[in-house]
């Protein structure tokens, strides 16, 4: 997905409420080739109005055994609503997709349709 987007000159930046340390663990564990941003005080999440107050989620402290997180704790935490914003070189938002079901993510084909229509010329 990330490398396919690169052919359109689109880089992925993903922001969550995770602390820097949690984000670093997540990035290394899942070998993520994208930039992860930390917003533990939910400042950006609230600024953009994508706050999911007291959502139920799972959280790992980073105790990982052969790639499997063993210390997974359920809790109610405030976190971001899964939201995708496609932004052009001038900082203008050209496409938005938001999930009304947190289990579901922006469909890859939808993302690519948006990328192709926003950036007809691959860079």
């Amino acid at each position: 997905m990330t490398s396919d987007l690169e052919s359109y000159g689109v880089s992925v930046v993903a922001l969550s409420k995770d602390t820097t340390e949690e984000a670093a663990v997540h990035k290394e564990r899942d070998a993520l080739g994208l930039m992860l941003l930390s917003d533990p005080k939910l400042e950006v999440i609230r600024q953009y109005g994508v706050e999911h107050h007291k959502a139920f989620g799972f959280h790992t402290t980073g105790f990982i055994f052969f790639g499997i997180p063993l210390d997974v704790r359920p809790s109610f935490q405030t976190m971001a609503i899964p939201t995708s914003l496609l932004v052009d070189e001038e900082g203008t938002i050209v496409w938005i997709d938001q999930s009304d079901d947190y289990r579901l993510r922006s469909d890859n084909s939808l993302v690519f349709d948006a990328v192709r229509s926003a950036f007809p010329t691959a860079s």
């Binding site: 359109y8 959502a55 203008t92 938002i93 579901l104």
Partner: protein, 145 residues
């Protein structure tokens, strides 16, 4: 189908029903959560829900059958039946939480990004101005787990 275990009569039909309950729900958890990392969970997990209901019915059936056959419920029946019911109810409860409170989004298509600051996973300060001149897919996500 009675057998003696620790001097107590265990009904093997009840045990089979209880184990069936456990397998139905445990199997759903494994299959369903294996699809989470790839973002491939079904929008309408009908099969998973049917299996959870089946797991609850099997567990209730196991306890009922055991009571009727022996007048008591043996621990080897209770344990998988309780696990089956517990995990099935937890799964169904998780599904009820799926809706997100969308509608408060402060930006629209055509708007400029709202200027923001954050920190990268490497601990480096980040400003939204750093994105100027680049095409970006900015994703808000729930966090790693």
């Amino acid at each position: 189908m009675l057998r003696q275990i620790d001097g107590v009569n265990v009904d093997f039909v009840a045990l089979g029903l209880a184990l069936g309950s456990f397998v139905a729900t445990m199997g759903t958890w494994v299959v369903y959560f294996s699809k989470v990392p790839g973002g491939a969970v079904p929008a309408r997990p009908v099969g998973s829900v049917i299996l959870q209901v089946l797991a609850i019915l099997l567990a209730v059936g196991a306890v009922g059958w055991n009571l009727q056959a022996t007048g008591s419920v043996h621990a080897v029946v209770i344990l998988p039946a309780l696990l089956g019911v517990g995990m099935a109810v937890f799964f169904l409860w998780l599904l009820t939480l799926r809706k997100t409170p969308i509608g408060d989004l402060r930006v629209a298509v055509g708007d400029q990004l709202l200027a923001f600051e954050a920190v990268t996973s490497e601990g480096i300060p980040f400003r939204s101005e750093d994105l100027l001149g680049k095409r970006t897919l900015l994703k808000f996500f729930r966090g790693g787990w």
